[in-house]
Assembly symmetry: C2
Homo-oligomer: 265 residues x 2
């Protein structure tokens, strides 16, 4: 199987133009087949507020009403995605930006209303994602850059968590490629002490993960990311790294003890 | 040579949700290979004004300062493009949205400053456009939907006229396909009398075009569209139609005398 690297870049890096430029240069140097999934950053909230649409949150997730959906579609699929694509083109990467609606690469379902109505939020399942269109792009020398917007196949766009997209797409591509999934963000990895940048936990397996959750060491925001990542490992992804965006090249070169590596059971 | 239809849909149709929905249903029924190029419509100006950015125009063209570029990138590549893609997906067309930066399908150059500084406006040449990435998409069953944003290859996005994009992409694809170029808008074609919807000029060739311009019958807004279209015919495009969006299916079925057909010399 041919190797493929799927990298997710977080919103905090996107919000920092210098960090983003440095990351994109590192990304350009990642050898072989690769796919980039990006988050949204704070620009959507900033623009939404200017347009008179206050961000609405519940349990750390955005509630996507119709107006908010328009804003995130504009910002994620338009501004952020095309800025990244044009910068990667300048770095010599033949990038091609997509949402889940394009080529139907990520079919989704509107989240059912239980206690909270999340509005136009899309839930996805790795099993529903075909690897055909992405493989076709990769085989033609095109490098997909995915914005966190999906669709229901009936004409409705949906807002979907970028971490979840990264894990699900990585899992679906693992039927054709030996996939390494890398979550890049502003921290060095999963920290034992959130105040101490050097307290990186170098390796986590499902057993130690259960322990970390029980002891409350893994923080709220990290749990969905890790849940997704372990599901991806179970689904066929070869390796998962959680690392600082600035360390991407070192990770790709195999440098150890600077990030968190997830291990299968 | 395989036949391909390249259709440009104008901003006035995009601004009218019902007309757009009807057009996309017609587009879905166009047989064979096809590419859609869309304009922007008034949403960019509306959103720009809400964000405190007044639209700036000179000689009928938008002046694109940095803030305006962000707005048109969001609206054209994000909101409008992804709405169209998701609606086409619902109609069974495996649409994939692109700007000129994606896959480097439309390299452009920032318009040189002469008497007017148009800002981040991109000029394109059909000869600079490769047909490779678009062909790769088409051969994989994906139908390109192009937003009127290009790039300079050095990381700068640029705003580019959608009529010009349609003609230049049609010309570049004519090296591989027998291309029919169709400009769809809200009128029945080029009108002898702009007040009389029934005064359609059924056929124009370069000679009669010169005469129409001389007599002032062809209006200002129409001249760049026709100049582009005649250049595309000269460059290898087989046929050009200018028609009402609502008449697209009839045109595709060969119905005559309901639109303007351009004829080579």
């Amino acid at each position: 199987m041919q190797a493929l690297t799927l990298i997710k870049i977080g919103g905090n890096v996107i919000d920092d133009p210098e960090a983003l430029a440095a990351f994109l240069q590192s990304y350009a140097r990642v050898p072989g087949l690769k796919v980039l999934v990006h988050g949204g950053g704070k620009i959507a909230s900033t623009i939404g507020i200017k347009l008179g649409i206050a961000p609405k949150m519940a349990q750390g997730r955005r509630i996507t009403d119709e107006e908010t959906l328009d804003v995130v579609t504009m910002v994620y699929a338009g501004l952020v995605n095309k800025r990244i694509v044009s910068k990667l083109q300048a770095e010599g990467v033949n990038a091609l930006g997509l949402t889940g609606a394009d080529g139907n690469i990520i079919p989704a379902a509107k989240r059912p209303v239980k206690t909270i109505d999340y509005g136009f939020a899309g839930d996805i399942e790795a099993g529903q994602i075909g690897s055909g269109p992405l493989s076709a792009l990769l085989e033609n020398g095109l490098f997909p850059v995915i914005a966190p917007i999906t669709h229901d196949g009936k004409g409705q766009l949906l807002n979907t968590n970028a971490d979840t997209i990264a894990a699900a797409v990585a899992e679906s591509l693992s039927s054709r490629y030996a996939v390494t999934l890398v979550y890049c963000f502003e921290k060095k990895g999963v920290l034992k002490d959130p105040e101490d940048e050097e307290s990186v936990i170098f390796a986590i397996n499902p057993e130690s993960y259960a322990e970390l959750k029980e002891k409350g060491i893994v923080s709220k925001g990290m749990i969905p990311k890790l849940d997704n990542a372990f599901a991806a490992l179970k689904g066929g992804v070869k390796q998962v790294h959680i690392c600082r965006a600035a360390d991407l090249e070192k990770i790709m070169e195999g440098e150890a003890y600077i990030s968190t590596r997830l291990e299968p059971a």
